[in-house]
């Protein structure tokens, strides 16, 4: 069975290519996939015919206990035959139905085949969750098929409606499955069915939820509105999905579960009431239609109601009748849809008021239509008659339901007659249609279906034997399918229905006002529209009320929540430290006062540069606190970052206005301050509580030992970064790469991978004779922006600083330093070069792209981790290499160093990217505006 599924998958994937080669004719080879299904199922007839099952199981998701458990029994065998057989015929039909070059043909063919495969998953699945997967796949494919003409609003609407309704039902069904599976202890239906099900309230909920899924899929009230709308799909799709296959999924599920669940409280009332009501309402609506396809659609709704009621009734006789009806309906309804397609294709309309003289057009077509419609009406000796007889016989002891079914059948007979009359009658005053010839491959598929319907009637005995095993699941069966049951009540009711239906059709003229007045709720989409509209309105109101669009407002709400929730919890439960030393170092209070004053002044500052410098002061102060706390690595990094931050700020602030814009509303200012104070109090409280809340020993207590024994380094913080918690660092450097790329992409209007700015040769030569050149980029600057002192100092210190950065990198494993600090120092060296010599000097200093450095660093870091994995360790595990190099002596190399080098490169790349973007590229912007109009008025900030 898995082979069949794979075959459909392959066919679906190959479909676009085949369609490109052969156009719609590609449907012929594609039809082989469902045809293979049909053949396979036919070959399994002996195995299934006596109540046996074909089982295949493949392991899938072991952790969830989910296997691909496939199982073919009588009911699924019947469905497989229908899905395969009708599928193949519909594809053959499609080969001529669609004109060559029809838009979206490739997608249509692929989805149609994929749909057949999904349908097989649904039918074969023994595991309820797998069944759900197939179920939703059919929903999605049906969405794509209904929305085939995506340029039309009605198409999109119809597709969305079908998707919404059936997915809603599907989700409810999933919840029901889970309730059922969890209580039964298994999701395999074959296991659930053979063990007694634990009773309880859950079972009623589960049954109701599952029925919601089944009814929505089969378009039974109250979910039926989507099916008529779904007729926006091309006719072959309607014939397949909305007559033979997908809508049968709900009936199939009802039939599958009925042997076990039909006795559960709400099952029978729900199924019978919804089914019979749908049958009546759908039949009535079908009588009102003028579009032949819509007539059939409402007829389908009606018949699905009948099917659900009969298969769900839960008696052996009804089960047998239900399966026969299932077969009969697929045969005649698909045939009729295909006939409508032929008419539509040939006559150019489906409106029965415009059709005339079609009987003379094609006798075979007329014959096919008569056969199929007669089967639908239940005329002997067709299979429809056999099935209908069995249905009546199964309900003889339930007069209420029987009355409903007979009334529904009267309507069925009437709309069958209306279909034939509508399609083939001659209408006075209507110009006879001049139809085009019919291709054989469009006539053969409906003919095959109709003829099978004709043959299956007399072969009722064979059918009876094949379908019996399913009915036996519900108990001993005394009913049987037969063409001539003798003079029974059922036969009388069949005759009554035929006569009644004939009368109803004959009286269509006098009854027309009643028909027009009594509008059924099925046709109206008002219910669905109302619900969708309500949801839309609620969504807009909620969004409008909560999403005010103001960033400070959002942040304020978040922060207030932080104050209230963690702050409140802290007040309620915090273990407060009794005594806290004021300070443990006399320098501490001094630094804190500086920080506090600087922070408060920064809040009040009106000038950008002032605010930035004050904030920088708090940064340096924090670094001092780090030192006092015993964290030299942090202090080093903080000092370097603070310096780099100031440099970057200055680069941007030269362009921004000098002062902040005027302060807005006073009231919100007080609110901001209140939130700020509250947050400060909460943060301080957290510091107190967190310090006193430790219950378990530090996990970091073992870090010093680990660092030496496993990381081969003495600087515990650095070893933590590159070894013990190297994954954190890996994530962090990835963030840096993203940030660098983000900065560049915000500033560069063109690709930054192009040629970097090179110093113009002429400028070089002109100045060379003039005076000594300290920096080669220097002469490219305007005279008033050059500082010869800066150039000289830069020239003198650059290489020393670069060397120092390498020292920090290499010594970082055992002493303060490491990749971050080293990279920052190297980056600052580049900053100095840029500040002294401008953007051309930057290219001289770093003649490679920032992207290259970032990429190399990331590759090195990831590569180190991967190599450890390859040699059999865990990712990012360190190893020690002892080398003996000539001249240098013994070298102890830890592999984590390579990771650190990656970090080093990424930090350099980040700074270089920032300089290229916020430095060099902004320079270029400035020059461009200067030359264009002498610069913008706001452009008067500080400069490098």
């Amino acid at each position: 069975m898995l082979v069949l599924l794979i075959l459909h998958l392959v066919a679906a994937l190959a479909a676009p290519l085949l369609v490109r080669w052969w156009g719609p004719r590609a449907c012929y080879p594609l039809a082989l996939a469902p045809a293979a299904t049909f053949g396979w199922a036919l070959a399994r007839t002996p195995a299934v015919g006596h109540g046996g099952a074909v089982v295949e199981t493949y392991p899938w998701i072991g952790q969830l206990g989910l296997d691909i458990a496939l199982r073919l029994t009588t009911l699924s065998w019947l469905l497989t035959l229908l899905v395969g057989g009708v599928g193949a015929l519909v594809l053959v039909y499609s080969a001529r139905y669609f004109e060559p070059g029809a838009p979206g043909m490739a997608q249509l063919a692929a989805v149609l085949v994929a749909f057949a495969g999904a349908m097989l998953v649904l039918i074969f699945a023994d595991d309820l969750l797998l069944l759900y997967v197939g179920w939703e796949l059919t929903t999605i494919f049906s969405y794509l098929l209904i929305g085939h003409s995506s340029e039309r609003r009605s198409s999109r609407w119809a597709a969305a409606q079908a998707l919404t309704v059936t997915t809603l039902g599907g989700l409810a069904m999933l919840v029901g499955f889970i309730l059922l599976g969890e209580h039964a202890g298994s999701y395999r239906w074959s296991e659930i069915a053979t063990h007694p099900l634990p009773g309880g309230g859950y079972l009623i909920t589960a049954v109701l939820l599952i029925l919601a899924g089944a009814l929505s899929k089969s378009a039974v009230l109250p979910f039926s509105s989507w099916l008529p709308v779904a007729m926006a799909a091309p006719t072959p799709v309607s014939a397949y999905l909305h007559a033979a296959a997908m809508v049968k999924a709900g009936v199939y599920l009802v039939g599958l579960l009925a042997p076990v669940l039909a006795t559960v409280g709400p099952w029978r009332p729900v199924v019978l009431i919804a089914g019979v009501a749908t049958m009546l309402v759908g039949g009535w609506a079908a009588l009102r239609q003028n579009d032949l396809k819509l007539l059939l659609a409402y007829g389908t709704v009606s018949q699905l109601g009948l099917l659900v009621a009969v298969t769900g009734a839960g008696t052996p006789a009804a089960a047998l009748a239900g399966t026969a009806m299932l077969l009969a309906h697929a045969l005649f309804k698909a045939a009729l849809f295909l006939v409508v397609g032929v008419i539509d294709h040939g006559a150019g309309t489906r409106d029965l008021r415009e059709l005339s003289g079609l009987r003379r057009w094609s006798r075979p077509l007329f014959g096919v239509a008569v056969l199929a419609a007669a089967s639908m009406a239940g005329v002997p000796p067709l299979v429809g008659f056999v099935a209908k007889e069995a249905v009546f016989a199964a309900f003889t002891d339930d007069p209420l339901v029987l009355t409903g079914l007979v009334a529904g059948t009267v309507l069925t007979v009437a709309y069958s007659a209306r279909f034939l009359w509508g399609a083939f009658a001659d209408r006075p005053g209507v110009e006879p249609v001049q139809p085009t010839p019919i291709a054989a491959s469009m006539l053969v598929p409906p003919a095959v279906l109709a003829v099978v319907g004709l043959l299956a009637g007399p072969a009722a005995g064979v059918l009876n034997g094949l379908l019996h095993p399913y009915a036996e699941l519900l108990g001993s069966v005394d009913a049987h399918l037969t063409l001539w049951p003798g003079p029974t009540a059922a036969l009388g009711l069949s005759g009554l229905a035929l006569v009644g239906g004939g009368l109803l059709f004959a009286l269509r003229g006098p009854l027309a006002p009643v028909l027009a007045r009594l509008r059924s709720p099925v046709g109206g989409n008002q219910g669905y529209e109302w619900v969708v509209d309500r949801f839309d309105r609620i969504a807009i109101e909620v969004t409008g009320a909560t999403q005010r669009g103001s960033l400070p407002q959002y942040l304020g709400i978040i922060l207030v929540a932080v104050v209230l929730l963690p702050g409140g919890a802290m007040l309620a439960a915090g273990p407060w430290r009794a005594r806290l030393p004021m300070w443990d170092n006399p320098l501490q209070p001094v630094v804190v006062v500086v920080i506090a004053v600087a922070a408060l002044l920064a809040v009040r500052a009106r000038r950008r540069l002032t605010a930035m410098l004050l904030v920088g002061m708090t940064g340096y102060g924090t670094a001092m606190l780090f030192i006092l706390h015993g964290a030299p690595d942090l202090a080093l990094t903080q000092f370097l970052v603070e310096t780099a931050t100031i440099a970057v700020f200055v680069l941007v602030l030269r362009r921004l206005p000098e002062r902040f814009s005027a302060r807005p509303l006073r009231r919100s200012r007080w609110a901001r301050r209140a939130i700020g104070v509250a947050m400060g109090v909460v943060a301080g409280g957290l510091a107190l509580v967190a310090a006193g809340a430790r219950r378990a020993p530090d996990i970091s207590a073992a870090f010093p030992d680990l660092a030496v024994s496993e990381g081969y380094g003495r600087n515990v913080v650095n070893v933590t970064l590159v070894d013990i918690r190297a994954w954190d660092t890996m994530g962090e450097v990835a963030v840096l790469v993203v940030a660098a790329t983000g900065v560049a992409s915000l500033i560069f209007e063109r690709s930054r991978t192009g040629p970097r700015p090179r110093r113009p040769e002429s400028a070089d030569r002109a100045v060379r004779s003039d005076r000594p050149v300290w920096l080669r980029g220097g002469p490219t600057l305007y005279e008033e922006r050059r500082s010869i002192v800066l150039e000289v100092v830069t020239r003198l210190i650059f290489h020393t600083v670069a060397l120092f950065s390498l020292f920090l990198l290499f010594s970082g494993h055992n002493a303060p330093g490491g990749g971050f600090a080293g990279g920052l120092v190297a980056g600052l060296a580049l900053v100095v070069r840029y500040l002294a010599g401008g953007r051309y000097e930057l290219t001289e200093a770093a003649p490679v792209g920032a992207g290259l450095i970032l990429g190399a660093g990331l590759a090195l870091a990831v590569g180190t981790g991967a190599v450890a994995l390859l040699v059999g360790g865990s990712v990012l595990q360190s190893a020690k290499l002892d080398l003996s190099l000539p001249l240098i002596g013994d070298v102890h190399l830890v592999t984590a160093l390579f990771f650190d080098i990656g970090v080093y490169l990424i930090v350099i790349g980040l700074l270089l990217d920032i300089l290229r973007s916020l430095g060099a590229e902004v320079d270029r912007h400035i020059e461009a505006t200067d030359t264009a109009d002498g610069g913008l008025a706001v452009d008067k900030g500080g400069g490098p």
């Binding site: 009605s154 999109r156 799909a233 396809k293 539509d344 489906r350 085009t436 109206g524 989409n525 529209e529 509209d533 839309d536 309105r537 807009i540 999403q547 005010r548 960033l551 304020g556 443990d584 804190v592 506090a596 922070a599 408060l600 920064a602 950008r608 606190l625 706390h629 015993g630 964290a631 942090l634 990094t637 970057v648 700020f649 680069l651 902040f660 814009s661 947050m679 400060g680 109090v681 909460v682 943060a683 301080g684 510091a687 967190a690 010093p704 030992d705 660092a707 030496v708 003495r714 515990v716 913080v717 970064l721 918690r725 940030a739 660098a740 983000g742 900065v743 980040l910 973007s917 912007h925």
Partner: protein
């Protein structure tokens, strides 16, 4: 000082409170530069807060002092990455501020236009999605099936299906 009582001091808690408080006030502003400065202040405060979760002591370098008088290395490693990330964020927000200035002439964060529109629509009691609401396919003259070209020709004469 022993490892057990080496923890936060009053002044450090004060520093955390002031840095976070000032950071939040700036964060709630509308100028991107101010927001960014707020982020930096907030970052410094929170870094300090994280650091206070571990004990203070000597530098966490094995061999420079007794191991049990060493400061806690784990929060330090966390804060170290946080410092560098804050730097990356700073650069990014500065680039955003520059871009904002470049396009609009200032670095203020305006209200979200899309949100404003939704609020206006809520005020006018309008529906949302284009394909939903209003008339369904029943109101669409081209109710069904588009393919056959002949129908389109024919529609010139009659008034189509339905």
């Amino acid at each position: 000082m022993t490892a057990s009582d080496a923890g936060p001091t009053m002044v450090l808690v004060l520093a955390v409170a002031v840095l976070v408080g000032c950071g939040v006030i700036l964060l709630l502003e509308r100028s991107l530069t101010r927001i960014l400065l707020g982020v930096i202040l907030l970052g410094n405060g929170v870094n300090l807060l994280i650091l206070l979760g571990g004990r203070s002591g000597g530098a966490p370098v094995v061999g420079t002092g007794p191991v049990d008088e060493m400061s806690d290395p784990l929060p330090q490693a966390m804060v170290l990455t946080a410092i560098v990330i804050t730097f990356g964020l700073t650069a990014f927000l500065l680039a955003v501020a520059y871009r904002s200035w470049y396009l609009t002439g200032d670095d203020e964060v305006p209200d979200d236009l899309e949100d404003r529109q939704i609020i206006r629509r809520a005020g006018r009691n309008e529906a949302g999605a284009v394909d939903h609401g209003g008339e369904g396919p029943d109101g669409d003259p081209e109710q069904v099936d588009p393919e056959p070209a002949r129908r389109r020709l024919r529609r010139g004469r009659g008034d189509g299906p339905r």
